[in-house]
């Protein structure tokens, strides 16, 4: 028999897991006792699946039983905590999470009422939320006055030496540093090497107690396979997946890859679905992510093809395999992503596909992680000159910078302390503080660190010694023996790297058939179309239908051929592209069916697009009527950096002359699509002049790499 505290804690654990015999894992009870009985902050470094949530939910409940205030948990991984919250509820813990995707404004009201009435034991929020004025004012305020325990998940982000950089943790670190001792603190992470732990100690004070467990690895079988290029990897996946037992995860670096891989596997009769952070919104199906997770948990899917949005907190003890379609950014990320495979299985596969140009994508992530000096200087200069500050929209107009970049830069700068700028009532204002030169020092250091991590990842791919040992050492577990299970220890591949050549041919064809939707623009940018007088919502009667683009600029599929057509001396798109678009339109089958073809006019290359559109029309046996005219030369759209500039650049540029067939549905052809404003404007003019529905068609999308 233990102390009354231990007994009560065990009782709560048993209620929560629904097992009257359950006992704590090593370290869990010690952590709970520390939080209840000692005041010093605690850092728990324990592998995924160890059961951190048991610690903080039970500690929260015990504190409530001692009349303390509620617990606040700050975690970027809330979306995946459903199961843990349900388990806590069985032990009588009333936990509420506020995430942007799932909590609508009605829920806010209800949650706020519960908070005010002290009916909430645990409030879970994302780090970003703490920076949101409205959330802090309306939701956090009622509990902030009584918080008894503060839990910070993914605590390695507090350190600049961690493998993740999350800007919002800058704020969290400062909040932790100015906490009076009356608030208990628990910081948790699954992965922190010695350097990160030492850094956390210096950031959070010498009184920080550290509890550190061993890494998980018992059933993992690691193997790396060099397969240069998309075609071979797709072929290998289609060949190998049906032979693997159970269900698993395929990680890709970008959303586009997740979609492509899932579609390819589907075509090969494999039950795979794409999964990424914004899936619910983009698919228009609320709760889709959750449903996909559930199907994977029940082994109803062979695989989820996911970006890192499917992250920690996703707990599936019988996950049979984790395959990486590309090299992740660091060995620690890799360890974390494979570390959740097969905890309850005797064998689980962790396969890394690599070789070829994977680094391009991680390079891009590294390069865009921080704003350029030039952008920062321009932002500060603009704000210096504006005595009452500027809104994001005003800055965008003045700077001709992409909204995403601008937003990102403003956020990073506002998280400095002292910050050179801050947001007051939706206006960005300069503060009295200069931007500390240390900011750029940090940027350089972090960029260097990311590059070193990338190099280590490549070294792992080609490692000639035990792969598990390599991973363990990277996390400062230096006494790990060779695992005896990985492909290197065994001296032979666990899974063959081969596939039938016909499969590769089919994969190549598949890539050429991968079309992408062109979505209609929904809102005219403010003041961008003073000549056309387009304002507010793009009305249904003027809007384009959803269109199709054949390829991504420069991609392995048709992208190269499009590039060749555009920049060759002949200035003519290959006939194969005509055939490909015909095939695309046939598959797409737009309704109501287009009855004629027109194209976006150009003054620079007067014939390139029109000539192609004419050939396309003939191949589709439709009439071609070039009814749009460009009346004024403009700088190229690709030089326009944000939505306002892209749109404004087109104001008053086109005119329409209606003719035969005009009132029937039409295919509107252009070679490139970037922001989609050219299509939006041309379509609106066509519709205004009385045309039928407008279906945009483009050869290539000049998109930036989309983020995960």
């Amino acid at each position: 028999m233990g102390t009354p505290l231990q007994n009560r804690a065990t009782e709560l654990l048993r209620q929560s897991v629904g097992d009257p015999q359950a006992t704590f894992r090593p370290g869990q009870l010690e952590a709970i006792e520390h939080l209840l009985e000692r005041r010093s902050p605690l850092l728990v470094v324990q592998r995924t699946g160890w059961g951190k949530s048991n610690v903080y939910f039970i500690a929260a409940k015990l504190l409530r039983e001692q009349q303390a205030g509620p617990t606040l948990i700050i975690s970027p991984l809330l979306a995946l905590m459903r199961n843990q919250i349900a388990a806590a509820a069985r032990a009588g813990v009333r936990a509420v999470r506020v995430t942007s995707e799932e909590t609508n404004r009605d829920d806010w009201g209800r949650i706020r009422d519960d908070l005010l009435a002290d009916r909430v034991d645990v409030l879970l929020v994302s780090p970003e939320r703490l920076g949101n004025e409205e959330f802090v004012r309306t939701m956090l305020r009622p509990v902030a006055a009584r918080i008894g325990l503060l839990v910070v998940d993914e605590a390695h982000c507090i350190s600049d030496w961690g493998h993740d950089f999350r800007p919002d943790y800058r704020r969290i670190t400062r909040i932790l540093q100015s906490l009076p001792p009356s608030v208990r603190v628990l910081a948790t992470t699954a992965t922190a090497n010695d350097r990160v732990v030492a850094d956390l100690q210096s950031q959070l004070g010498a009184s920080l107690t550290v509890q550190r467990g061993k890494l998980a690895r018992a059933s993992l079988q690691l193997q790396n396979i060099s397969l240069p290029g998309e075609i071979t990897r797709l072929a290998w996946l289609a060949h190998t997946l049906p032979k693997l037992p159970g269900s698993g995860v395929i990680y890709t670096l970008t959303i586009r890859d997740a979609r492509t891989v899932a579609a390819w596997l589907h075509e090969n009769g494999i039950d795979a679905e794409p999964y990424w952070g914004g899936l619910d919104e983009e698919s228009g199906q609320p709760g889709l992510r959750e449903r996909l997770e559930t199907r994977l948990l029940r082994n109803e899917l062979k695989a989820l093809v996911a970006t890192t949005a499917l992250g920690m907190g996703f707990d599936k003890p019988d996950l049979a395999f984790v395959i990486h379609y590309q090299l992740p950014g660091s060995v620690v990320h890799y360890y974390q992503q494979v570390g959740r495979a097969g905890r309850a299985l005797p064998d689980a596969f962790a396969v890394l596909l690599g070789g070829g140009g994977d680094s391009d994508i991680t390079d891009h992530f590294i390069e865009t992680a921080f704003p350029s000096r030039e952008l920062v200087e321009r932002i500060l200069a603009r704000l210096d000159a504006a005595s009452e500050g500027l809104t994001l929209g005003e800055l965008q107009i003045k700077l001709n910078a992409p909204r995403g970049r601008l937003d990102h830069a403003l956020k990073l700068l506002s998280l400095e302390s002292p910050a050179p700028l801050l947001k007051l009532d939706n206006r960005w204002k300069r503060t009295v503080a200069p931007l500390a030169p240390a900011f750029w020092g940090r940027v350089e250091r972090l960029t260097e660190l990311r590059k070193r991590e990338q190099t280590r990842m490549l070294e792992y791919l080609h490692a000639r010694s035990c792969l598990m040992q390599f991973l363990a050492r990277e996390l400062d577990e230096h006494d790990a023996p060779p695992c005896g299970r990985c492909a290197v220890c065994r001296g032979e591949p666990l899974l063959a790297g081969q596939f039938p050549p016909t499969l590769a041919e089919r994969a190549a064809q598949f890539l050429q058939r991968t079309h992408h939707p062109i979505r209609p623009r929904k809102l005219w940018p403010k003041d961008a179309f003073s000549a056309y007088q387009f304002t507010g919502k793009v009305s249904d009667s003027l809007r384009t239908e959803t269109g199709r683009v054949l390829a991504i600029w420069g991609d392995a599929g048709w992208g190269e051929l499009v590039r060749a057509g555009k920049y060759s001396a002949a200035a003519r798109f290959d006939d194969r592209l005509v055939a490909a678009v015909v095939e695309m339109v046939r598959e797409w089958n737009p309704r109501p069916q287009p009855a004629w073809v027109t194209c976006v006019p150009s003054l620079n290359h007067t014939t390139l697009v029109a000539e192609f559109a004419g050939r396309l029309a003939r191949a589709l046996t439709l009439p071609f009527h070039p009814v749009l005219r460009k009346v004024r030369a403009t700088p190229p759209q690709k030089e326009m950096q944000n939505s306002f500039q892209q749109a404004h650049n087109l104001d008053g540029v086109f005119t329409v002359t209606p003719g035969v067939d005009f009132t029937r549905p039409v295919l509107l052809v252009d070679d490139m699509v970037d922001s989609g404003w050219t299509f939006a404007v041309c379509a609106a003019l066509l519709r205004q002049a009385g045309s039928g529905p407008v279906f945009p068609v483009a050869l290539a999308q000049t998109s930036k790499t989309d983020e995960t």
């Binding site: 005041r39 902050p41 205030g69 606040l72 703490l130 802090v136 004012r137 956090l140 305020r141 009622p142 902030a144 006055a145 009584r146 918080i147 503060l150 704020r171 400062r174 909040i175 932790l176 540093q177 100015s178 906490l179 009076p180 001792p181 009356s182 608030v183 950031q203 959070l204 004070g205 010498a206 009184s207 504006a386 005595s387 009452e388 500050g389 506002s414 998280l415 400095e416 302390s417 002292p418 910050a419 801050l422 007051l424 204002k429 300069r430 503060t431 009295v432 503080a433 200069p434």
Partner: protein
């Protein structure tokens, strides 16, 4: 935790006396100055300091205190630790500092207010200016054109003679005085009754603060909105941070300028009060002269304003211990008392 930017006593004072970001709480009322003074007195009697209030269990300590200290309210206020750290983080990031009455970085001149010294002072800009004293120029918002011109000239003259201008940041006389002094190359202390955060980020103020020529302070939450009571309190702080007061225009028996000046003349007596006394000054100015204020000479002024002050000051013996008029830029030794 060791990295904490605030001392334990300042943390405790903030927990007790600050709304911790104004304008958004209906929960628990912070202590008034009077209540805070009482609590400090009781702590002293119990041989304890404010920092003890941060310890895990304050109940035994609070139980010892008489009913004048509301233990329940104090406990609730002290429980706001997380709120405190959120607020401190916000202020720090915006370049706003905070000092509490029991710490060495608290402006010494404010301690002249003794029990009326605000428990907390927030600020933006260098603290050095707060010990430089200078000329407080005050007046009502609706000053006439002659008053406006007078304000500008007086502030600019002071600035040229390296006398700092202290003022309240309100529209009218306050802002005119501050702007004129800055334009003439002088230093200025702005003592605000509200919206420190907003004022510190507006164009003119921001540049002057960056140059080290302006410091804004306020005894009220950096996000507090306008409140008559706070504006009245603020008048004390203006005079306490200056060596001389100059009233440009005052209502009679009404308005903050009047009551602030009367309070100085008849109660606090921290600084000699001069009044603009030309022919067509408001009734309030004339009445202040009858209540003991000093006549500010008519223009043209003598070459050195400082000597003029000294002269006027000698002709009209001040009602309290004199400042050393030839050491305006040093802390007058008489003012150093008052620290607990």
């Amino acid at each position: 935790m060791s990295a904490n930017p605030l001392s334990p006593a300042t943390q405790a004072t903030l927990l007790l006396c600050s709304p911790l970001r104004a304008g958004r709480n209906k929960d628990v009322q912070p202590l008034s100055i009077g209540e805070f003074n009482e609590l400090e007195k009781q702590l002293q009697r119990a041989g304890a300091g404010l920092e003890q209030l941060l310890e895990a269990d304050t109940a035994p300590l609070l139980k010892k205190f008489p009913a004048a200290v509301d233990a329940e309210q104090v406990t609730a206020l002290l429980g706001r630790g997380f709120m405190l750290s959120m607020a401190v983080e916000t202020w720090q990031s915006a370049g706003v500092w905070v000092a509490s009455r029991n710490e060495s970085d608290y402006p010494e001149r404010l301690l002249r207010l003794k029990q009326n010294a605000p428990p907390l002072i927030y600020g933006c800009g260098g603290k050095k200016l707060l010990s430089r004293g200078g000329l407080a120029i005050v007046g009502s918002r609706d000053v006439d054109a002659a008053g406006e011109e007078f304000t500008r000239r007086a502030a600019a003259s002071a600035a040229r003679e390296e006398m700092q201008v202290v003022s309240g940041g309100a529209r009218g006389v306050d802002q005119l005085a501050m702007l004129a002094a800055l334009e003439a190359g002088g230093t200025v202390v702005g003592v605000l009754a509200d919206s420190l955060l907003r004022s510190a980020t507006s164009g003119t103020a921001r540049e002057a603060i960056q140059d080290g020529r302006l410091t804004l302070v306020s005894a009220f939450d950096p996000e507090a909105g306008f409140n008559v009571g706070n504006a009245m309190q603020r008048n004390k702080h203006i005079y306490a941070l200056a060596d001389f007061g100059l009233v440009v225009s005052s209502g009679y028996n009404e308005g903050g300028t009047w009551s602030g000046a009367i309070e100085q003349l008849e109660k606090l007596r921290l600084t000699p009060i001069f009044v603009r006394a030309d022919d067509d000054v408001p009734e309030g100015n004339r009445q202040l002269l009858r209540r003991g204020a000093l006549r500010f000479p008519s223009e043209p002024w003598p070459a050195a304003l400082r000597e003029m002050f000294a002269a006027a000051d000698q002709k009209n013996p001040p009602p309290m211990e004199t400042a050393d008029l030839f050491a305006l830029h040093e802390k007058p030794p008489e003012y150093r008392g008052g620290r607990r």
